[in-house]
Amino acid sequence: MQIQTTIDDHRIAKLAAFAIALHMLEAVVPSPLPGVKPGIANIVTLYVLLQYDFATAAWVSILRVFASSLLLGQFMSPAFALSLSGALLSLGTLWVAQHLPRQYFSAITLSILAAFAHIAGQLIVVRLWLIPHASVSYLIPIFATAALFFGLINGLVTAKLLYNKAQLSDPDKTEPGST
């Protein structure tokens, strides 16, 4: 059986492979608290969103969640549910936030907002399903701090990647988004 693929499919597959590789790298990094992770795979989602479009970014993000959970043996486990809920809420936020004016808001804002949405999605699942107890709220400040910190770092890396890309394709252009 031959599946007809388009050039977009190939691009999505390639970009998703990048995201999966980053996710795998991160999976071996120990974390002090379950759930507090840098989320470096989100750099790829953001980069794709700003370089291509939202649909491609959504494909890459969802493919990454499914493929990574299969590779790590977590498919349909609580870890997978957390990953998926975080990714979905994060995508929903990006879908709204992508309309922010680009001359004032760069990838860094999108990254921080996505990181907050990511932990919000995870905490909702934790609260409703995994640990249905009010004491979960004690963890919120820790997760919020992590989201702010890692969201900022990921955003800076994404901004730098986009800047490099802009310089590669057009060396005269010096600032990303300064149109």
Binding site: S106, I112, S137, L161
Partner: protein
């Protein structure tokens, strides 16, 4: 594609005015969350419930043992200078006793078999996300 990684070192000059606003706003929210959710406001009273009725409210700044009659029998509640615990309970698994001392406003110990629950309350009742 890999050529993009030639210098992935992030630099602050990519930050635009809106990004600074986002960072400041997020920091304020995070600090606010710490203050609201990690406030260790001391409780002043303990509310004892039997079934769905409030049995009594005691001041917790005292040293006292209180015997309360629940669905299975008598439980003993120990109040000791700002903290409260179940010190004896007729229930089977003794979860309520093992929970230990309650010290913070809003903390609760619930003995389901015996239908007795303790909840620490302060001057102001904290936001209750269980009942919201």
């Amino acid at each position: 594609m890999l050529s993009l990684l030639r210098s992935p070192k992030p630099t602050l000059r990519h930050l635009l005015i809106g990004d600074w606003l986002t960072i400041i706003f997020s920091t304020i929210i995070t600090v606010y969350l710490f203050q609201v959710l990690w406030s260790h406001e001391h409780a002043s009273k303990v509310q004892v419930r039997i079934g769905d009725k409030v049995h009594a409210v005691y001041n917790i700044n005292q040293q006292r043992y209180i015997k309360v009659h629940g669905a299975m029998g008598d439980a003993v509640i120990h109040i000791s200078q700002g903290k409260v615990r179940f010190s004896k309970s007729p229930c089977h698994n003794q979860y309520c006793v093992h929970q230990g001392w309650l010290t913070r406003n809003g903390q609760a110990a619930i003995c389901l078999p015996n239908q007795i629950s303790l909840e620490l309350i302060g001057e102001q009742k904290p936001y209750d996300s269980l009942n919201y």
